[in-house]
Protein backbone atom coordinates (compact mmCIF):
# COMPACT_ATOMS: atom_id res chain seq x y z
CA UNK A 1 0.00 0.00 0.00
CA UNK A 2 1.51 3.39 -0.94
CA UNK A 3 2.08 5.81 1.94
CA UNK A 4 -0.60 8.47 2.57
CA UNK A 5 0.13 12.05 1.52
CA UNK A 6 2.57 13.53 4.03
CA UNK A 7 3.30 10.17 5.70
CA UNK A 8 6.93 9.00 5.52
CA UNK A 9 7.44 6.11 3.08
CA UNK A 10 8.25 2.78 4.69
CA UNK A 11 11.99 2.24 4.92
CA UNK A 12 12.70 5.73 3.64
CA UNK A 13 14.64 6.65 6.75
CA UNK A 14 17.50 4.48 5.50
CA UNK A 15 18.05 6.99 2.71
CA UNK A 16 19.41 9.50 5.23
CA UNK A 17 23.08 9.21 6.09
CA UNK A 18 23.80 8.05 9.68
CA UNK A 19 20.91 6.33 11.47
CA UNK A 20 21.83 8.01 14.80
CA UNK A 21 20.91 11.45 13.47
CA UNK A 22 17.27 10.30 13.50
CA UNK A 23 17.22 10.09 17.32
CA UNK A 24 14.69 12.53 18.73
CA UNK A 25 12.43 12.50 15.68
CA UNK A 26 8.80 12.34 16.79
CA UNK A 27 6.73 9.89 14.78
CA UNK A 28 3.60 12.06 15.06
CA UNK A 29 5.39 15.19 13.89
CA UNK A 30 6.85 13.49 10.83
CA UNK A 31 3.57 14.32 9.11
CA UNK A 32 3.88 17.78 7.57
CA UNK A 33 0.40 18.99 8.57
CA UNK A 34 0.96 17.98 12.20
CA UNK A 35 4.44 19.54 12.17
CA UNK A 36 3.03 22.78 10.74
CA UNK A 37 0.23 22.82 13.35
CA UNK A 38 2.79 22.43 16.16
CA UNK A 39 5.09 25.12 14.71
CA UNK A 40 2.21 27.60 14.25
CA UNK A 41 0.90 26.96 17.76
CA UNK A 42 4.40 27.42 19.20
CA UNK A 43 4.28 31.00 17.88
CA UNK A 44 1.02 32.04 19.58
CA UNK A 45 -0.87 31.38 22.79
CA UNK A 46 -3.74 29.76 20.86
CA UNK A 47 -5.19 29.55 17.36
CA UNK A 48 -8.72 28.79 16.31
CA UNK A 49 -9.68 25.90 14.03
CA UNK A 50 -10.66 28.30 11.23
CA UNK A 51 -7.39 30.25 11.54
CA UNK A 52 -5.38 27.00 11.28
CA UNK A 53 -7.44 25.98 8.25
CA UNK A 54 -6.78 29.39 6.65
CA UNK A 55 -3.02 29.19 7.31
CA UNK A 56 -2.60 25.59 6.19
CA UNK A 57 -5.12 25.45 3.35
CA UNK A 58 -6.28 21.97 4.43
CA UNK A 59 -9.82 20.62 4.34
CA UNK A 60 -11.87 20.52 7.56
CA UNK A 61 -11.71 16.71 7.64
CA UNK A 62 -7.96 16.44 7.17
CA UNK A 63 -7.19 19.23 9.63
CA UNK A 64 -9.64 17.85 12.19
CA UNK A 65 -8.16 14.35 11.98
CA UNK A 66 -4.60 15.64 12.45
CA UNK A 67 -5.61 17.88 15.33
CA UNK A 68 -7.31 14.93 17.00
CA UNK A 69 -4.16 12.81 16.72
CA UNK A 70 -2.10 15.55 18.35
CA UNK A 71 -4.75 16.04 21.02
CA UNK A 72 -4.89 12.30 21.76
CA UNK A 73 -1.11 12.29 22.21
CA UNK A 74 -1.41 15.10 24.76
CA UNK A 75 0.38 17.61 22.54
CA UNK A 76 -2.61 19.95 22.24
CA UNK A 77 -5.16 21.40 24.63
CA UNK A 78 -8.56 22.46 23.29
CA UNK A 79 -10.94 25.00 24.75
CA UNK A 80 -14.33 25.79 23.28
CA UNK A 81 -16.24 29.04 23.61
CA UNK A 82 -18.79 31.20 21.84
CA UNK A 83 -17.72 34.36 20.02
CA UNK A 84 -20.51 36.46 18.49
CA UNK A 85 -22.83 33.48 19.13
CA UNK A 86 -20.63 31.20 17.02
CA UNK A 87 -18.83 28.21 18.56
CA UNK A 88 -15.08 28.48 18.35
CA UNK A 89 -12.39 25.90 19.23
CA UNK A 90 -9.07 27.25 20.46
CA UNK A 91 -6.01 25.02 20.17
CA UNK A 92 -2.89 25.54 22.27
CA UNK A 93 0.35 23.58 22.50
CA UNK A 94 0.85 21.79 25.83
CA UNK A 95 4.22 21.49 27.61
CA UNK A 96 4.51 17.94 26.24
CA UNK A 97 3.81 19.21 22.73
CA UNK A 98 6.39 21.97 23.08
CA UNK A 99 9.02 19.48 24.29
CA UNK A 100 8.23 17.05 21.45
CA UNK A 101 8.45 19.84 18.88
CA UNK A 102 11.78 21.08 20.27
CA UNK A 103 13.24 17.58 20.16
CA UNK A 104 11.87 16.99 16.63
CA UNK A 105 13.27 20.29 15.33
CA UNK A 106 16.70 19.50 16.84
CA UNK A 107 16.64 16.11 15.07
CA UNK A 108 15.66 17.78 11.77
CA UNK A 109 18.58 20.18 12.18
CA UNK A 110 20.93 17.22 12.69
CA UNK A 111 19.52 15.52 9.58
CA UNK A 112 19.91 18.59 7.36
CA UNK A 113 23.45 19.15 8.70
CA UNK A 114 24.33 15.49 8.05
CA UNK A 115 22.81 15.66 4.57
CA UNK A 116 24.82 18.81 3.83
CA UNK A 117 28.06 17.16 5.00
CA UNK A 118 27.45 13.84 3.17
CA UNK A 119 27.59 15.17 -0.43
CA UNK A 120 30.59 17.32 0.43
CA UNK A 121 32.42 14.24 1.75
CA UNK A 122 31.50 12.15 -1.27
CA UNK A 123 32.61 14.94 -3.65
CA UNK A 124 35.87 15.20 -1.71
CA UNK A 125 36.54 11.45 -1.92
CA UNK A 126 35.58 11.37 -5.64
CA UNK A 127 37.94 14.27 -6.26
CA UNK A 128 40.73 12.42 -4.39
CA UNK A 129 40.27 9.26 -6.48
CA UNK A 130 40.42 11.13 -9.75
Amino acid sequence: MPPKRGEPPVGAAEAIPGREVLDGLDKLLEHRVRLAIAVLLSRADALSFSRLRELLGETDGNLGANLRRLEDAGYLAVTKEFLDRKPISWYALTAAGRAALASHVRALERITRAAAVAPARSEHSTGGDA
Partner: protein, 189 residues
Protein backbone atom coordinates in the same frame (compact mmCIF):
# COMPACT_ATOMS: atom_id res chain seq x y z
CA UNK B 1 17.98 10.91 -1.85
CA UNK B 2 14.16 10.83 -1.82
CA UNK B 3 13.85 11.17 1.97
CA UNK B 4 15.78 14.43 2.05
CA UNK B 5 13.68 15.92 -0.73
CA UNK B 6 10.52 14.97 1.23
CA UNK B 7 11.88 16.68 4.35
CA UNK B 8 12.71 19.78 2.31
CA UNK B 9 9.20 19.78 0.81
CA UNK B 10 7.64 19.44 4.26
CA UNK B 11 9.77 22.25 5.66
CA UNK B 12 8.78 24.42 2.69
CA UNK B 13 5.11 23.73 3.52
CA UNK B 14 5.69 24.73 7.17
CA UNK B 15 7.66 27.84 6.13
CA UNK B 16 4.82 28.98 3.84
CA UNK B 17 2.27 28.60 6.66
CA UNK B 18 4.50 30.58 9.05
CA UNK B 19 4.97 33.31 6.42
CA UNK B 20 1.16 33.58 6.05
CA UNK B 21 0.86 33.91 9.83
CA UNK B 22 3.58 36.59 9.95
CA UNK B 23 1.73 38.86 7.53
CA UNK B 24 1.03 41.48 10.15
CA UNK B 25 -2.06 43.62 9.53
CA UNK B 26 -3.61 46.15 11.81
CA UNK B 27 -7.41 46.18 11.93
CA UNK B 28 -9.00 48.74 9.62
CA UNK B 29 -11.02 50.21 12.52
CA UNK B 30 -7.81 51.49 14.18
CA UNK B 31 -6.83 53.39 11.03
CA UNK B 32 -10.30 54.94 10.75
CA UNK B 33 -10.27 55.88 14.44
CA UNK B 34 -6.94 57.72 14.17
CA UNK B 35 -7.89 59.28 10.83
CA UNK B 36 -10.78 60.99 12.63
CA UNK B 37 -8.76 61.85 15.77
CA UNK B 38 -5.86 63.35 13.78
CA UNK B 39 -8.02 65.28 11.30
CA UNK B 40 -10.04 66.87 14.13
CA UNK B 41 -7.01 67.41 16.40
CA UNK B 42 -4.90 69.13 13.75
CA UNK B 43 -7.74 71.35 12.57
CA UNK B 44 -8.23 72.60 16.13
CA UNK B 45 -4.77 74.27 16.01
CA UNK B 46 -6.12 76.68 13.36
CA UNK B 47 -9.77 76.81 14.41
CA UNK B 48 -9.72 76.67 18.24
CA UNK B 49 -6.13 76.75 19.52
CA UNK B 50 -7.23 76.91 23.19
CA UNK B 51 -8.90 73.52 22.89
CA UNK B 52 -5.84 71.70 21.51
CA UNK B 53 -4.28 70.75 24.87
CA UNK B 54 -7.54 69.47 26.35
CA UNK B 55 -8.47 67.66 23.15
CA UNK B 56 -5.20 65.70 23.00
CA UNK B 57 -5.26 65.07 26.75
CA UNK B 58 -8.52 63.16 26.20
CA UNK B 59 -8.13 61.90 22.61
CA UNK B 60 -4.52 60.67 23.04
CA UNK B 61 -4.96 58.21 25.95
CA UNK B 62 -8.60 57.53 24.95
CA UNK B 63 -7.61 56.64 21.40
CA UNK B 64 -4.77 54.52 22.71
CA UNK B 65 -7.07 52.54 25.03
CA UNK B 66 -9.66 52.13 22.27
CA UNK B 67 -6.95 50.95 19.85
CA UNK B 68 -5.78 48.32 22.34
CA UNK B 69 -9.36 47.03 22.64
CA UNK B 70 -9.93 47.07 18.86
CA UNK B 71 -6.65 45.19 18.30
CA UNK B 72 -7.57 42.59 20.93
CA UNK B 73 -11.05 42.13 19.45
CA UNK B 74 -9.73 41.89 15.87
CA UNK B 75 -7.12 39.27 16.76
CA UNK B 76 -9.74 37.11 18.53
CA UNK B 77 -12.07 37.39 15.54
CA UNK B 78 -9.19 36.42 13.26
CA UNK B 79 -8.64 33.33 15.42
CA UNK B 80 -5.33 34.26 17.02
CA UNK B 81 -4.51 34.74 20.68
CA UNK B 82 -1.01 36.08 21.18
CA UNK B 83 -0.38 38.08 24.34
CA UNK B 84 3.32 38.62 23.48
CA UNK B 85 2.41 40.21 20.13
CA UNK B 86 -0.24 42.36 21.85
CA UNK B 87 2.31 43.51 24.43
CA UNK B 88 4.79 44.44 21.67
CA UNK B 89 2.19 46.61 19.90
CA UNK B 90 1.12 48.19 23.18
CA UNK B 91 4.71 49.04 24.16
CA UNK B 92 5.39 50.54 20.73
CA UNK B 93 2.41 52.92 20.80
CA UNK B 94 2.72 53.58 24.54
CA UNK B 95 6.24 54.87 23.73
CA UNK B 96 4.67 57.51 21.48
CA UNK B 97 2.12 58.42 24.15
CA UNK B 98 4.88 58.77 26.78
CA UNK B 99 7.03 60.85 24.39
CA UNK B 100 4.02 63.10 23.78
CA UNK B 101 3.55 63.62 27.52
CA UNK B 102 7.26 64.42 27.95
CA UNK B 103 7.18 66.85 25.01
CA UNK B 104 4.69 68.97 26.97
CA UNK B 105 7.28 69.62 29.72
CA UNK B 106 9.32 72.28 27.78
CA UNK B 107 6.06 74.09 26.94
CA UNK B 108 4.94 74.12 30.57
CA UNK B 109 8.44 75.28 31.58
CA UNK B 110 8.16 78.16 29.12
CA UNK B 111 11.02 76.93 26.92
CA UNK B 112 8.88 76.06 23.88
CA UNK B 113 5.56 77.08 22.30
CA UNK B 114 2.47 74.95 21.78
CA UNK B 115 3.12 75.35 18.08
CA UNK B 116 6.58 73.79 18.55
CA UNK B 117 5.07 70.99 20.65
CA UNK B 118 2.48 70.17 17.99
CA UNK B 119 5.14 70.10 15.24
CA UNK B 120 7.33 67.82 17.41
CA UNK B 121 4.35 65.52 17.93
CA UNK B 122 3.84 65.22 14.16
CA UNK B 123 7.51 64.28 13.76
CA UNK B 124 7.36 61.75 16.65
CA UNK B 125 4.19 60.22 15.21
CA UNK B 126 5.82 60.00 11.76
CA UNK B 127 8.74 58.11 13.33
CA UNK B 128 6.43 55.79 15.29
CA UNK B 129 4.42 54.92 12.15
CA UNK B 130 7.56 54.52 10.06
CA UNK B 131 9.12 52.09 12.58
CA UNK B 132 5.82 50.19 12.89
CA UNK B 133 5.90 49.83 9.10
CA UNK B 134 9.51 48.66 9.09
CA UNK B 135 8.90 46.01 11.75
CA UNK B 136 5.38 44.87 10.82
CA UNK B 137 2.48 46.28 8.84
CA UNK B 138 3.96 47.76 5.63
CA UNK B 139 0.91 50.02 5.14
CA UNK B 140 2.17 52.12 8.03
CA UNK B 141 5.28 53.08 6.05
CA UNK B 142 3.08 55.19 3.76
CA UNK B 143 1.36 56.88 6.71
CA UNK B 144 4.79 57.52 8.33
CA UNK B 145 6.18 59.05 5.13
CA UNK B 146 3.09 61.27 4.74
CA UNK B 147 3.35 62.43 8.35
CA UNK B 148 7.04 63.26 7.74
CA UNK B 149 6.09 65.29 4.68
CA UNK B 150 3.31 66.94 6.72
CA UNK B 151 5.92 67.98 9.32
CA UNK B 152 7.90 69.70 6.55
CA UNK B 153 4.79 71.55 5.39
CA UNK B 154 3.88 72.67 8.91
CA UNK B 155 7.38 73.94 9.73
CA UNK B 156 8.12 75.62 6.41
CA UNK B 157 4.81 77.11 5.26
CA UNK B 158 2.88 79.97 6.91
CA UNK B 159 -0.92 80.18 7.22
CA UNK B 160 -3.58 77.66 8.31
CA UNK B 161 -1.58 74.64 7.20
CA UNK B 162 -2.58 72.53 10.22
CA UNK B 163 -6.09 71.96 8.94
CA UNK B 164 -4.86 70.99 5.48
CA UNK B 165 -2.14 68.72 6.94
CA UNK B 166 -4.61 67.11 9.36
CA UNK B 167 -7.07 66.39 6.59
CA UNK B 168 -4.34 64.99 4.32
CA UNK B 169 -2.94 62.72 7.03
CA UNK B 170 -6.44 61.69 8.06
CA UNK B 171 -7.21 60.83 4.43
CA UNK B 172 -3.97 58.80 4.19
CA UNK B 173 -4.90 56.86 7.34
CA UNK B 174 -8.42 56.28 6.06
CA UNK B 175 -6.97 55.02 2.75
CA UNK B 176 -4.65 52.69 4.69
CA UNK B 177 -7.69 51.48 6.67
CA UNK B 178 -9.66 50.93 3.49
CA UNK B 179 -6.75 48.94 2.02
CA UNK B 180 -6.48 46.82 5.22
CA UNK B 181 -10.23 46.19 5.20
CA UNK B 182 -10.20 45.12 1.52
CA UNK B 183 -7.20 42.82 2.09
CA UNK B 184 -8.93 41.15 5.01
CA UNK B 185 -12.17 40.77 3.07
CA UNK B 186 -10.30 39.23 0.10
CA UNK B 187 -8.52 36.74 2.38
CA UNK B 188 -11.78 35.79 4.07
CA UNK B 189 -13.32 34.85 0.69
Amino acid sequence: MPEMSRIEEDLGYVRAAVARMDRSRSPAAIYFLWAAIVAAGFSLVDLAPRMVGLYWLVAGPGGFALSVWLGWRASRRAGEMDRAEGRRHMLHWFGLLAAGCLAVVPVVAGQASWYGFAATMVLLTALAYWLAGVHGDRTMLVVGALLGAGYGVIVLLPGPVWTITGILIGAAMAAAGWSAWRQRAAEAR
